[in-house]
């Protein structure tokens, strides 16, 4: 529920920001983008405002919106849970924007199922088959004789796009009967309440109400994500227009500082540096 309001608020915030143009950006920092990076961005913002007394505005409207805002010059930093797409880079070029990405943290994509599900491990190919609609019963992947309820994210989501790139493949569509939820929280609540469900979450969101399964035999933990053995991990980005300077530079480089690392770890994400 909070997410829905958050979405509404971020839309309002976006309108306000667009209306004010760069005026606001001159005396503060404006962030827009991924809901997955959201917790990090908000904690960084609180830390930054405390330390430097520079106002930081954070909107969470999806990675795609972050890229859009950066291209339209209505934000200083786009937070993204995927890299920029070719079309977005082309659009940026025509508007004279030069996107520069820096990695904030690493995030594992946890494949989650209902806690009562006895399935402990799946291969990437099995997960892909489930999302392509080729496997429709848990029996086919070593579970009980029970139909699978496939849950995905909406097309706005960077998590959805990372999942598609890493697991299903870009060209292959996800099966039409897959349910679509609007946020990490909504996916978690649906999976925790539905016996046959399978879904995917950012590692920081996967708590005890759902069961994480091992992928290709590797269980998702901060350690396996960091050393690269867990196959479904992705970097999270801060993208700026050109090389950052001033406060924006300090903000983007927070993940390299001890305070930044502590914040990232506390939120359940994995430090890159």
């Amino acid at each position: 529920m909070k997410k829905q309001w958050g979405r509404a608020l971020s839309v309002i915030a976006l309108v306000v920001i667009v209306a004010n143009g760069r005026a606001e950006a001159k005396n503060g920092i404006v962030l827009d983008g991924s809901t997955t990076v959201g917790p990090i961005a908000k904690s960084f913002a609180a830390f930054f405002m405390n330390k430097y007394h520079v106002p930081v505005t954070v909107s969470e409207s999806g990675s795609g919106n972050g890229a859009k805002s950066l291209i339209n010059k209505s934000c200083d930093i786009a937070s993204m849970s995927r890299s920029m797409k070719p079309q977005e880079l082309a659009a940026a070029k025509t508007k004279g924007v030069n996107p520069v990405s820096s990695v904030v943290a690493l995030d594992g994509l946890a494949i989650v199922v209902h806690p009562s599900n006895p399935v402990k491990t799946l291969t990437i190919a099995q997960v892909a088959d489930i999302y392509k609609g080729r496997v429709t019963n848990w029996r086919q992947v070593g579970g009980p004789n029970f139909p699978i309820v496939v849950i995905q994210r909406e097309s706005n989501s960077g998590t959805q796009e990372s999942f598609k790139d890493l697991v299903v493949g870009k060209e292959t569509p996800v099966v039409g009967s897959a349910e679509t939820q609007a946020s990490n929280g909504a996916v978690k609540s649906r999976v925790s309440l539905t016996r046959g469900a399978i879904g995917f979450l950012g590692l920081g969101f996967a708590d005890a109400s759902v069961k994480k399964v091992a992928v290709n035999g590797i269980y998702p933990t901060p350690l396996t994500v960091k050393n690269g053995s867990y196959p479904l991990s992705r970097p999270l980005f801060f993208v700026t227009d050109g090389q950052p300077s001033g406060f924006v530079k300090q903000f983007v480089e927070l993940p390299k500082s001890a305070d930044g690392k502590k914040i990232i770890k506390e939120l359940g994400f994995v430090n890159k540096y």
């Binding site: 919106n65 097309s155 706005n156 060209e171 039409g176 349910e179 609007a182």
Partner: protein
């Protein structure tokens, strides 16, 4: 006015308005009228503007992708490469949940309206109607939350028994009525009174037993159904019917009240019972108002976004088989809400314009149904006035 005699001139001068004052009055009247006209015009212009701007952004989609894919294919993959914009499953989903909610809300709403206006005492009605109208004050996000967090798990865990009890509750009174009516009809040809009564009893017993078996077996079949996902078309239909109910009840009750005492009393005076009066006099007389109520309620269901976005599951496929309300569906409104974020000229314009095409489709559907209801109301009025 100066021609009057001095005696009357003094008295009537109070009623005579000077030329200046008359001019002032004329100006203020014109100012007032034009202000009101302007406000009314603004409302009409707003509607036209919405139509124009939605259509303006919808047309490019059809220029880029044509009509056939949008209306005949069921693959909805706007973010894929290459994108596919088959909206048939989504259009079907919208119609499905709207029809489902109408199926629940219309019989319930009209019966409740009849009950309020003609069955229960006036003093009780004064309390019950505002309570029903309170339903309309509940925000749709609260309904959506209820659907997602309470109704969906309930359907998943106790779906079979819930379906069975609903079947028993709805079907048993109808079957009982049918058994009695059929036995009466079959035995009317028997002349002898006592023999007819015996035959009637036997028929009631036989048909009663048969329908009990029917109730039981269908109920058992329903009980065995396992609902896989609670966020499905049934869940949304139930919640949408709750949201349409206050509109349907309130507007049809007003229509029934508007029929007036004279028709009711005329009917009673001719010896009609209350049931005959309601079915044969009041309902036909109020039918245009009731129809308006039903259309308003259906429009409420069709246009609702938050509840369907949260509780329909949003899977863009036509259920298997097509009447399966226990599968997830996706609606036009939820698709617009869900895909708006990413859709922009930046990421490919067809994806942006397709949402306006959906908005235009919704607008067109509501215009058509408004038009049809308007026509029916006019025709009904003609029939009732005897033309």
């Amino acid at each position: 006015m100066n021609g009057d005699s001095p005696a009357t001139a003094g008295r009537s001068s109070a009623f005579i308005v000077s030329a200046r004052k008359r001019k002032l009055q004329k100006i203020t009247r014109m100012a007032g009228e034009s202000t009101l006209f302007l406000i009314a015009a603004v409302v009409a212009i707003i509607v036209l503007f919405i139509f124009y701007f939605v259509a303006r952004d919808a047309v490019p989609f059809f220029q880029i992708r044509g009509f056939s894919e949008f209306f005949t294919k069921t693959d909805w993959y706007p973010a894929d490469d290459p994108p596919r914009f088959g909206a048939l499953a989504i259009i079907y989903g919208s119609l499905m949940v709207t029809a489902g909610s109408a199926l629940i809300a219309v019989p319930m709403g009209v019966s409740a309206a009849i009950c309020l206006s003609d069955v229960i005492p006036f003093s009780v009605r004064q309390y019950v109607k505002p309570i029903i109208e309170m339903l309309a004050a509940i925000p749709s996000v609260a309904f959506g939350f209820f659907a997602l967090v309470i109704l969906a798990p309930l359907l998943q865990n106790f779906g079979g028994p819930i379906l069975m009890w609903t079947w028993w509750l709805i079907a048993s009174p109808f079957l009982l009525l049918a058994v009695i009516v059929v036995s009466e009809l079959l035995s009317t040809s028997i002349q002898d009174d006592s023999r007819r009564r015996v035959v009637q009893r036997i028929l009631v017993a036989v048909f009663g037993l048969l329908s009990l078996l029917f109730l039981f077996f269908v109920g058992k079949h329903l009980q065995e159904i396992q609902i896989l996902t609670g966020t499905n078309a049934l869940n949304v239909s139930i919640i949408l019917s709750f949201m349409a109910l206050p509109t349907i009840v309130s507007v049809s009750e007003d229509a029934l009240q508007a029929v007036g005492r004279d028709l009711r009393e005329g009917s009673y005076a001719l010896g009609a019972t209350r049931a005959e009066t309601i079915v044969k006099i009041i309902l036909p007389a109020a039918s245009s108002g009731i129809l308006a109520a039903v259309i308003l309620g259906i429009m409420r269901s069709l246009g609702e976004t938050m509840v369907v976005w949260m509780a329909s599951g949003n899977s863009s496929h036509v259920p298997e088989p097509w009447y399966n309300y226990l599968e997830s569906v996706r609606t036009l409104t939820a698709t617009i809400a869900g895909d708006m974020g990413e859709a922009d000229q930046v990421t490919g314009s067809a994806r942006f314009h397709v949402l306006f095409a959906m908005g235009l489709l919704l607008l067109v559907i509501s215009f058509i149904s408004n038009f049809i209801s308007e026509r029916i109301v006019v025709r009904q009025r003609k029939v009732l006035s005897g033309q």
